[in-house]
């Protein structure tokens, strides 16, 4: 809409004659453009190298021995490296942290997606009293400073007897993630025209049937996208887990414990980087596979509203 509106302004400043009258200019322009593309491509590759460097450095360091890491010259390629740091890091405490993280994340994502899905249907398909207040509230909730709330959250979980408990942490995660998930999903729901459902209803389906058979399949990518988002939030969360999970650590707490443990002695950077790699790599791989859907989901939410 905005594009067509601004177009006249551009047309006014037109220099049409120059191009249509002098055909020979076009090839020159094209060659110039190609050189420009090449230079910009080199710039993009350079930025890519700089941006990926910390991740590369983590993996590289994780495969080097302590002696190599202690030398005054950094080793840029893991030649002669080994996986012994990983072996030393994969202790029972890792597997128990992994189990806690998997449990909390699966429970939180399942509940969060269910609630957010239903709520997004409500705000994009129904007009009801309190709709605007609900939307504004979920937006405001995302602004609550977490570090101000965790004292209260700790006291609440203590009174429920849910400290260091997967269920307790999941409740807090769902509450933290559900607003943004609703926000993303509503873009998808708004993107599926209600007319499709109406057509199905004319063909004799009930409202529910029309929804399940027509709208739901079209929403699947949106559900995947918001599910991934919720997954990452819960999997990587640090602050609330630090306060609530005193003796039942999640993976991020396990990783920090590693650094802390080493802090009493000289830090064993090889082990620390191996532990970081173990926490980061599965997330990175999973994320790289599904990210396209996530971004398009976010844009849908922002643009289509």
């Amino acid at each position: 809409m905005t594009v067509t509106a601004t177009r006249p302004a551009v047309v006014k400043s037109a220099g049409r004659v120059a191009v249509s009258a002098d055909g020979s200019r076009i090839p020159i322009r094209r060659r110039k453009l190609r050189l420009g593309t090449l230079l910009l491509s080199i710039l993009a590759l350079f930025i890519a190298v700089v941006w990926a460097f910390p991740v590369y450095w983590m993996v590289n360091s994780s495969m080097l021995s302590t002696a190599t890491l202690e030398s005054s010259t950094p080793t840029f390629f893991p030649v002669g490296g080994s996986l012994s740091n990983f072996e030393r890091v994969l202790t029972p405490s890792f597997f128990s942290a992994l189990a806690v993280s998997v449990g909390v994340t699966l429970l939180s994502v399942a509940v969060c997606l269910t609630f957010a899905f239903l709520a997004s249907i409500a705000i994009s398909r129904f007009k009801f009293r309190g709709r605007v207040s609900f939307i504004v509230t979920i937006l405001l909730i995302q602004m609550l400073p977490a570090e101000g709330l965790f004292i209260a959250q700790y006291k609440m979980m203590a009174s429920f007897g849910l400290l260091s408990n997967v269920l307790g942490l999941s409740i807090l995660y769902v509450a933290a993630v559900v607003p943004f998930t609703i926000w993303m999903l509503r873009g998808f729901v708004a993107g599926v025209p209600a007319e499709l459902e109406e057509a199905g209803m004319i063909d004799g389906l009930s409202r529910t049937q029309a929804f399940v058979r027509i709208t739901l399949p079209l929403l699947a990518p949106g559900l995947v996208a918001s599910g991934v988002f919720a997954f990452l939030q819960c999997w990587n969360e640090f602050t609330v887990a630090l306060v609530i999970m005193e003796n039942n650590r999640t993976l991020p707490l396990w990783l920090r414990g590693f650094v802390q443990q080493s802090a009493t002695q000289a830090i064993d950077w090889g082990q620390v980087m191996a532990a970081s790699t173990i926490v980061a790599i599965p997330v990175i791989i999973f994320f790289v596979i599904v990210q396209g859907r996530m971004t398009s989901g976010l844009v849908a939410g922002a643009v289509k509203g």
Binding site: T2, V3, T6, R7, A9, V11, S13, A14, G15, A18, L40, S41, I42, L43, A44, L45, A48, W51, A52, P54, V55, W57, T73, P74, V111, F115, A116, I121, A122, I123, S124, R125, F128, V132, Q142, M143, E147, G148, L149, I151, A152, M156, A175, A176, I182, P193, M201, F238, T239, R256, V259, Q260, V272, A280, V288, Q291, T295, A302, V303, G305
Partner: protein
């Protein structure tokens, strides 16, 4: 927007028998049934803590009360007056707002520039850049912080090593995070920008793919300059995306906690190196003064709402239509 009204009315318009009592009542109740799960979990996980926080901000809730020796007394605005007279608190607030504005705007500028770059380069270069950004985006905060602390390590950090290779520069043993607060926050800002640019770049790029190539080409033939094309054609399309990612970045950067805490773990811990998040934590949890911590949290909440006020207001207007 129009779909909202139409989805409810068509069955009636087409004369189907939806006017009977039960189904009308169901249609009225349906949206409330749909949001009840989200509302309950939000009330429990967020509502209760916020209310507790507000109440506590009006109480004297120090070490004595926490240990159960004494019930907290209501002290009116005492906590707020105390923080208003706390010079350190204002210094921290000023620093936080400045840090948040600089970091969030830098993130947006770099992110949008990278998105524009993606539209102008060869497909292979674009793919490589996108993979690099994805790697950074997907890094868990803790892992990323640990790596950056290792990169900036004064003795064996690769940053000092690479900088020292520049002729005439000797950064051997230079302490990035422990020398001055300014440098500490520059490093913190670099790390946060590194982590948050990918999100902005991908969102802006996805927005840019919705810009019509035909319109761009036509305007180019009509003689519009690159700046004009960006201002009048590209920018209006990606503006809503930029608005929401700017808002989110402002919110996130105002309340950064994990990054500053972990950097402080590896360096200086004085209040000169605090932002609001860590200062509240130090006052409320480590300093055992829940009342003052709660009052500060409420202040930060108000500050956040002030920062995002224009966006929220335009949203209310739009939704109310």
């Amino acid at each position: 927007m129009t779909t909202t009204d139409e989805s409810l009315s068509p069955p009636d318009r087409r004369g189907r028998s939806t006017d009977t009592d039960p189904s009308v009542r169901r249609a009225v109740l349906a949206p409330y049934l749909l949001i009840v799960g989200a509302v309950l979990v939000l009330l429990l996980g967020m509502g209760y803590p916020v209310v507790w926080q507000i109440i506590t901000s009006f109480q004297k809730y120090g070490a004595l009360q926490q240990l159960g020796g004494k019930a907290p007394d209501f002290v009116g605005l005492d906590n707020y007056i105390a923080i208003a007279q706390d010079g350190t608190f204002w210094a921290v607030t000023f620093r936080s707002v400045l840090f948040c504005l600089v970091t969030a705007f830098a993130t947006i500028v770099v992110g949008v520039l990278l998105a524009l770059l993606m539209t102008k380069v060869h497909a292979a270069a674009r793919f490589t850049l996108q993979i690099a950004l994805l790697l950074a985006w997907a890094m868990p905060v803790i892992a990323a912080m640990t790596v950056f602390i290792w990169l900036f390590n004064r003795q064996r950090g690769v940053v000092n090593y690479l900088l020292s290779m520049i002729p005439g520069v000797d950064m051997k043993g230079f302490n990035w995070i422990g020398t001055t607060p300014l440098l500490f926050f520059v490093v913190a800002s670099i790390i946060i920008i590194w982590m948050s640019v990918p999100f902005v770049a991908f969102s802006a790029y996805a927005g840019l793919t919705q810009v019509s190539g035909e319109v761009l080409e036509a305007s180019q033939l009509d003689g519009a300059s690159a700046v004009q094309r960006f201002r009048f054609i590209v920018f209006p399309v990606i503006k809503p995306v930029i608005a929401i990612v700017l808002l989110l970045n402002l919110i996130w950067d105002l309340r950064v906690f994990a990054q500053i805490t972990l950097l402080q773990d590896a360096g200086p811990k004085s209040t000169d190196y605090d932002l609001l998040g860590t200062y509240i934590y130090k006052t409320g949890v480590a300093g055992l003064d829940f009342g003052a911590g709660a009052a500060m949290s409420i202040f930060v909440l108000a500050l956040t709402i002030a920062l995002s006020w224009f966006y929220v207001r335009s949203l209310i207007k739009e939704e109310g239509k």
